[in-house]
Symmetry: none
Subunit: 221 residues, 4 copies
DNA sequence: AATGAATGAGGTTTCATTCAT
DNA sequence: TATGAATGAAACCTCATTCAT
């Protein structure tokens, strides 16, 4: 009938293709803020600038939003760091430095950490989610890093360590740093300062906490 | 095994002083399994072997269970590792080894990890909880570790690192190891093997990933 | 009779602007019948031809229904009798006769008496209600009647009485008549017969119970 | 047996006979304060200085408390004013003055008004109560007053009025005075002043509101 | 006679989902 | 495509009542 929605033209549709993404954006924010169970569909709709009913045009249920969120997050991740990681030849410490520095930058961005946090929170309640994320992301990234470490060891760059377990020693500190800040507000003065953390961490990671034997005060001898 | 029909008979259950603790136990399990919002009070009651109403005899609301849980968890934690940490004199690497080994043992126990996981999940929705936990636990433990590191640096045992940031490098790997196992089921073959993780991590933590400069082809054979 | 399927069809019920009023009507009936505490929201909904949830679309809580009821009742009352009362000049007994006759007519209507009855019942539990009703209704009506009596006294129409206390003598009998009927089913044969009550009451109110001193057998002639 | 009621002895029982009355006292207070439905049995027990379970030793249900209350209130009322009312010979105005003065005194006592208020509040929800009270109290008191009026008319003391309806004109003002004070806090300055109300009311009741015809400007001087 | 721990039906309120427009 | 009124299942919480001690 007289559906002159905004400007002109009959049956005018405003960026209808972007709708699902906008809904997912809103859902992600709210799921992070209050958890899946405590987020109301109506709030998601409101934040996306839609009405409640419209959400159900794009997603058949609230849980489908969660699935959609994970699915959307999976796509770009695979391609990003994987190739650079895989193809590299030479000292893996250079790659690790680059990767950690890159990760440090991205961890500061709330949007990047949102998905892991969401998965962490809701994994117990919806086991399918975690499984999907693991299959599509972790099962591809972890072997790549492992391979990098293995080659580094083989080529004499790295000490004889367990590549798989060593991944925890590489990434764990970054995770903990962010988690302490997010959950307890425990940060160095003035902010996350991811670059300082990475610098401190790389020192330890590559050369160890122990003071170098040659110099100054290495205890008794 | 788990049947606590200790004293008189199987039906004798009146005036149990342990009631509140039993309720908290049940609540903790379910909050971990399904999250606070998705856990029904009736389920908590059922798991504790009680009826819905009885839970409200001891706790005025569902949220009070959460508070009670945090409160209960706070008491023993402070005293446990703190004294050993504080009083020690000498090579801090010995202490760190001991502490990490101890932590590794306790992290394997689901009951020990339950509270941190719960706090992690629900912190956003109930900021008071996280604040309380931080004030009573972290604000006491972290400075102690920091002091240990600082003394280690002063006495020449440790390299010149940022003590506060270094804590992330010490603990983070353990956290990540447990988290990967819990959430994604990613473990070394056959189980958590915390002792292996700690061994691998301590090697890196103290001496670094880099191969010792002397023997370039240490892994040659 | 009571089926308000007025406009289109029997199933057409969307976007009724009158919804809140219909809910209040149902609530009032039930609050009178069974009291606020013993009335279930579901019953209110059912009587209004709605589902439980729909009631909460219009009123945020059960108590808000009570407030809405009082608020709605307040508006029309003030204006009705006030103007006629205020502007009148001359023998106040004429006005009082008119007002009492009018009141008698309205007291017979259950809808008119519903609010005072409700306030009476629930005032103790919700002091705010009574206060609001008093401020908006009684504090405006009582002074007007008092003024009428005061002028009547000044102009020599009425005996020297306390205007404020006399209001009780004017209205009290009507209230008691209705209350006895409502609560105990005590009525003159065949019904309330408000007009007979008013006639009897006005006789006493104006001329007193005492027989006229002159003629001992007043009804003889 | 060993009924050492007050001081010592094993299986000590304190004034066990007065218990039901104490429970009823507590119940009456609370029913008045908050209504029957909103009063918890536990609160009644607490106010009576007992435990919840003990209340059920004396009354089989909460509703039985209501019945017990009405039953208890009925006994003394019948005998009190009835005889004096019935036997009196002579000017009924003297009796009415006495009765109203007496009533005025008792209406000021909260304990006396408690039962009527309670009946008023809960009558709709428990029709049996009102019926019992009416049968035992009103059906005996009202005819007595009616008889008094009828005799007063026959003997020429009173004007020809409807005795039954006139009862409303006699008692109504007192009821309204108390009700306004209780519910809305509307009292003459400084308190109920029942004696002033009765004085003002009796003037009107016996001689009417109208100024005496002889002296038009009675208040002139 | 007295207690108070325990129960569970029933009430208020929320919110995912549907559907007429 | 979009809306938002309407629904009703399910959750939290209360409290009358029971019963072992």
């Amino acid at each position: 009938m007289n559906t002159t929605d905004q400007e002109r033209g009959p049956k005018f549709r405003r960026r209808a293709e972007a709708r699902p993404d906008e809904v997912l954006d809103a859902a992600l924010e709210l799921f992070i803020e209050k958890g899946f169970a405590s987020t109301r569909v109506e709030d998601i709709a409101k934040r996306a600038g839609l009405s409640k009913g419209t959400v159900y045009l794009y997603f058949p249920s609230k849980e489908a939003l969660l699935e959609g969120l994970v699915r959307r997050a999976i796509l770009p991740i695979a391609d990003s760091a994987l190739t650079t990681l895989h193809d590299y030849e030479g000292d893996p410490r250079v790659v690790l430095s680059m990767v950690l520095t890159m990760l440090a930058g991205r961890f500061g961005d709330p949007k990047v950490m949102a998905m892991p946090k969401l998965i962490f929170r809701e994994a117990m309640g919806f086991p399918g989610l975690a499984e999907m994320y693991r299959r599509e992301v972790l099962d591809r990234v972890l072997p790549a890093v492992e391979g990098l470490l293995r080659r580094g060891i083989e080529q004499g760059y790295l000490r004889q360590v367990d590549p798989s377990l060593t991944i925890r020693s590489i990434i764990g500190p970054l995770m903990l740093h962010v988690a302490m800040a997010e959950i307890f507000g425990i940060t160095p003065e003035g902010g996350l300062h991811m670059e300082k953390l990475v610098e401190n961490h790389l020192t330890i990671l590559f050369d160890g906490l122990s003071a170098p034997p040659s110099a100054k005060q290495w205890s008794a001898s």
